[in-house]
């Protein structure tokens, strides 16, 4: 085996450090782009995000685990070859993803179920992250088996990728061009540092892949969406924006889902008029989303009303406006319209009270990000800025003729959450339900609404005297009311976002697979069975390890598995806390992720440089992790200073980095498997993502999960104290 040894020469040291650094750089960059492209291709709900991340971690872990046993003979040339193969597979994988609908036999515009999404995420992650997992071990072998050092360099590369991709590439380049640049830089750096005997092949492959990514983006998108006429595609910081033109009609889609079509008076009218007629005069209105789709224009039908339109993504609105007809643009240029680009949640926190109406016109609450606009805390924030008797309205997809138990649960949960904040709640039936809420009486009587519209001189196509009697027939309104009148459902809250879970069940029921049944099963489980039983089993599982006279090497990996689970859950929870408290701020969310990686680098670096017995410090580090969790838990029910989430994630990263190196060094004294600790870390994270993000957080909430994490880490601490101090390997 040829080993790259760091020498006294700085140049040589840099050369030896570059391949593991590149590993982290590539893995993180590829993961970010995979998530972005995946959510643009498949339905971007929280479960699908969870699948991609979980599959990624799973294959990375397995790659590292399996390679550890087989990669004793290796060379820099082999590593260079694997890096090149990964880049080729990467392009193939992304191409495969782009044409997934054709391969799955689906129409462009056809919804995809969870099973194909899971299959795709497993396959794509196998293509790319399995070999990257293998590379971890190969890098460790090339550094004389020093996997801790690889871990440090890899996390350093990941930090640079996190910052570079989010702050430099995504804001300025499309996903595919960004990938082209990443492959070009990392491919050439790999060749320069690993110096294979025949560099022409990897260099040519790198340039080819980078070129294909850059040149084929637009063309492949147009081809993939045929027969729909895709006229423009832009990757913004918030996702993929696509503009389709069908005859004279323009449809704007974000991440593959139509946000609005123009003209589409039905959606715009129902968003606006049911709320607008509730009070004699609506002078000041806040509209969150929907402005370019025609809702702002509908509000302008009331001559005395001024409207503030809040939109998250300026690029999406600007791109859409380029293709919309003049009248749509004119509405947004009207002096009575104030268009603000900000996170709606953040804007409302700062807003001065006095709005006569607040209207939400956003995509379905299928993700934690959008679900923030359907929670108890958000409704309370809205109530704070409403004028006396002010009206809040939101619109969600529903069913016109029959409310199924799955849909009923989602709608009734939403109704219950609204009812806890507002004394009056009414729901308009139809294929979309418009919820109205206020502290003063509301009416959905068709004659009242029609009369008010006529008095105001408002002429509509769908919300008018002709159409309302059928939609608001007492039969339909009372039926819906009966379905909503339930008090046995959990409240949708920021830190227990059960709304998106219920929405996911309804969504999954469309597909005739096992998905909906599985989700319903979890929804029906008592908290203890899912949260406490696994903890008990974990503790019981550790007893034979703790009771053994001599430690098995694998015992040293227990803290690594726990840190894998803990770190990913803390990462997701803190981002959720940040989004709820300060809004979805692209730059700061990226910074949060970057700081976690920086923490990992710093922690592992300190541990590597430490000359003391790292094993002895494990209990203290583990105890610090528990303290940090307690601190996070205590921060959940009070207003948060903005620096705290950043601090939490950096510290969590640092403690995890230190703990990883400490446990791994102890493990490696008794076992020659440089990839084992890394694999266990990733597999722990895999379980964390799969169980926490998809099921536990929405159903039982961040606080309940954090308490279980504290218990998990306490069990781990007890295990460390019993096993690591008193026994030898």
């Amino acid at each position: 085996m040829q080993v790259l040894r760091p020498s006294s020469s700085r140049r040589l040291e840099l050369k030896a450090s570059t391949p593991p650094f590149l590993l982290g750089f590539m893995a993180t960059s590829f993961q970010v782009y995979l998530l972005r492209e995946f959510s643009a291709q498949f339905y971007g709900n929280e479960l699908n995000y969870g699948f991609v991340l979980a599959a990624w971690l799973l294959w990375g872990g397995l790659g590292s685990l399996l390679a550890g046993r087989r990669s004793r003979r290796t060379s820099p040339a082999t590593l260079a070859l694997i890096y090149t193969v990964i880049q080729i597979l990467l392009f193939g994988g992304f191409l495969f993803l782009r044409f997934s609908r054709h391969l799955l036999g689906l129409l462009p515009g056809e919804a995809v179920g969870m099973t194909p999404a899971l299959g795709y995420s497993l396959f794509l992650s196998l293509l790319v992250n399995f070999p990257l997992g293998v590379c971890f071990v190969v890098n460790a072998r090339l550094l004389g088996g020093d996997s801790s050092r690889v871990y440090f360099l890899e996390s350093l590369g990941a930090t640079l990728a996190g910052v570079g991709v989010h702050f430099v590439l995504i804001p300025y380049f499309s996903n595919w061009t960004g990938l082209g640049l990443v492959t070009l830089v990392s491919g050439l750096a790999a060749v320069l540092s690993l110096k294979p005997k025949r560099p022409a092949l990897p260099v040519a492959a790198t340039i080819l892949v980078a070129g294909l990514f850059t040149a084929a983006d637009v063309h492949t998108q147009k081809l993939a969406w045929r027969p729909l006429n895709l006229v423009r595609a832009v990757d913004t910081r918030f996702g993929k924006v696509q503009i389709f033109r069908t005859d004279g009609q323009v449809t704007c889609a974000a991440n593959g889902l139509p946000v609005f079509s123009y003209p589409d008076p039905a959606s715009a009218e129902e968003t606006v008029h049911f709320a607008m007629v509730q009070r004699p005069e609506m002078r000041k209105v806040l509209l969150i989303g929907g402005s370019a789709g025609g809702a702002a224009a509908e509000i302008l039908k009331y001559p005395l009303t001024e409207v503030e339109c809040i939109e998250l993504d300026p690029v999406m609105i600007e791109t859409a406006l380029e293709y919309l007809p003049a009248e749509a643009r004119k509405a947004l240029e009207n002096p009575r319209v104030k268009l603000v680009f900000d996170d709606g949640r953040r804007y409302i926190k700062k807003a001065i009270p006095g709005y006569d109406a607040v209207m939400v016109s956003l995509p379905e609450p299928a993700t934690a990000q959008v679900n923030r606009f359907y929670t108890l805390e958000f409704f309370m924030e809205v109530k704070r800025i409403l004028a006396e008797g002010g009206v809040f309205s939101l619109t969600v997809a529903s069913a016109e003729n029959y409310i199924s138990p799955d849909l009923g649960r989602f709608l009734a949960g939403l109704n219950r959450t609204l009812s806890l904040v507002f004394s009056e709640v009414e729901a308009v039936p139809g294929s979309n339900n418009v919820f109205l809420a206020s502290d003063e009486p509301l009416s959905i009587d068709p004659l009242f609404i029609a009369g008010k519209l006529e008095t105001s001189g408002v002429k509509n196509v769908f919300v008018n005297r002709e159409m309302l009697p059928a939609r608001l027939n007492p039969l339909r309104t009372e039926y819906l009311k009966a379905k909503l009148d339930r008090d046995d459902l959990p409240v949708n809250r920021d830190f227990t976002p059960v709304g998106y879970f219920f929405h996911s069940i309804w969504w999954a029921a469309q597909f005739k697979g096992p998905e909906a049944g599985l989700l319903r099963f979890f929804a029906g489980q008592p908290r203890g069975r899912i949260l406490d039983l696994p903890l008990l089993l974990f503790a019981l599982l550790l007893i034979p390890f703790a009771a053994a006279r001599r430690n098995r090497p694998s015992a040293y990996l227990v803290p690594v598995a726990v840190l894998g689970i803990t770190s990913i859950v803390v990462e997701m929870s803190v981002i959720m806390i940040f989004q709820a408290s300060f809004g979805y701020l692209y730059g700061r969310i990226s910074l949060l992720l970057g700081l976690f990686m920086a923490g990992l680098s710093a922690g592992s670096f300190i541990a590597i440089k430490s000359r003391s017995n790292l094993g002895r410090r494990l209990p203290a580090v583990q105890a610090l992790k528990i303290l940090l969790l307690i601190f996070i838990l205590s921060a959940l029910d009070r207003p948060l200073a903005e620096f705290l989430p950043f601090t939490f994630l950096f510290l969590e990263g640092a403690l995890c980095g230190y703990l990883f190196v400490a446990a791994n060094r102890t493990f490696q004294k008794s076992a020659d498997h440089p990839g084992a600790a890394y694999a266990v870390d990733l597999l722990g994270s895999f379980f964390g993502v799969l169980i926490a993000s998809s099921i536990i957080i929405p159903l039982w909430g961040v606080p309940a999960l954090t308490i279980r994490l504290i218990w998990l880490n306490l069990i781990c601490l007890a295990f460390i104290l019993v096993s690591f101090r008193t026994k030898t390997a």
Partner: protein, 373 residues
Amino acid sequence: MKRRLFLKNAAGTGLVIGTRLPEFCSDLALAGPPPKLSHVEARYYRKLPDREIICDLCPRKCRLGDKERGYCGVRENIGGTYYTLVYGRPCSVNLDPIEKKPFFHFLPGTTTLSVATAGCNLNCKFCQNWEISQFRPEQVENFDLPPEQVAVQAEKNRCSAVAYTYTEPIIFFEYMYDSALEVRKKKIRNLVVTAGYVNQDPLNDLLEVVDAVKVDLKAFSEDFYKEYVRGELKPVLETIKTVAKSRAWLEIVYLVIPTLNDKPEEIRQTARWVKNEVGDHVPVHFSRFQPMYLLKNLPPTPVSTLELAREIALEEGLKFVYVGNVPGHEGENTFCPACGRKIIGRFGYRIENMDIVEGKCRYCGHPVPGVWS
């Protein structure tokens, strides 16, 4: 029972009905557990050896062993006898304007009692009632509404007709047929809103008891039917021809879906076929697609596409061609084919003017086909 508590109980069984709600519901046993599935022997099947049966209701001709269900999910072979599980067990009952079905030449401006059970013998990717059509009856909330009660409720709510609708009513044939007989006794009409995927024998029997049929012609290509509907075009065309020959009133709806069935040539073929095979007097509605079910990510149909479809069909010689789901559009109105005057003005579900007198144009006296009283 307090109104709120009543509604809560009603929700448990899936029914709240009627404009005069409490009276309406007091007729029905709503409180308590949902009713069990029915076990009424089905019609149109043949017994085979070894307790097998063949269903002759629709062109699928499901061959079923003991304890197996047909493709529709609502008809089951139990010990060699075939049963319908949804007789008197609708899951959706509503009051709708007749224009919503849509019927434009059948008692305009009146109200229908809409009745539907779970299940369907097709699987359209754009179904707007997928939560009942794609589920089995035990997976939805049903209520107990036997045929005679269908008639009673239609009468109480002053409905001009009962519409068997939402899902494919052919799959609850026995319930529909027996309800139609009861409804007729009250001098109320029966309407069928169907995709037309049915065999000729049951269809002919049904046509004896119903007054109007609206057929959803989903496209004019076998490929479309195979891929997006999981059915066949040919039997649907046969159904349309049979209805046209019967005494029941016929209207046709063609839901225009962007990129899938909106090619001008396909529209022209459809119009030609209608004119040649069933007559130029049959109303054809080109309806606007709204993103639904599995095609939720497709854009809605541009109004200009519908206008083009209407133009083509008029060019081909059809006399009553409508644009559907676009309230206020000129193509919603009925024009006299002789004098060209607007004889029924519509805005959505509302009739603004009705200038047909005794089945003739008020202005020129030209007969206007339809059922007007």
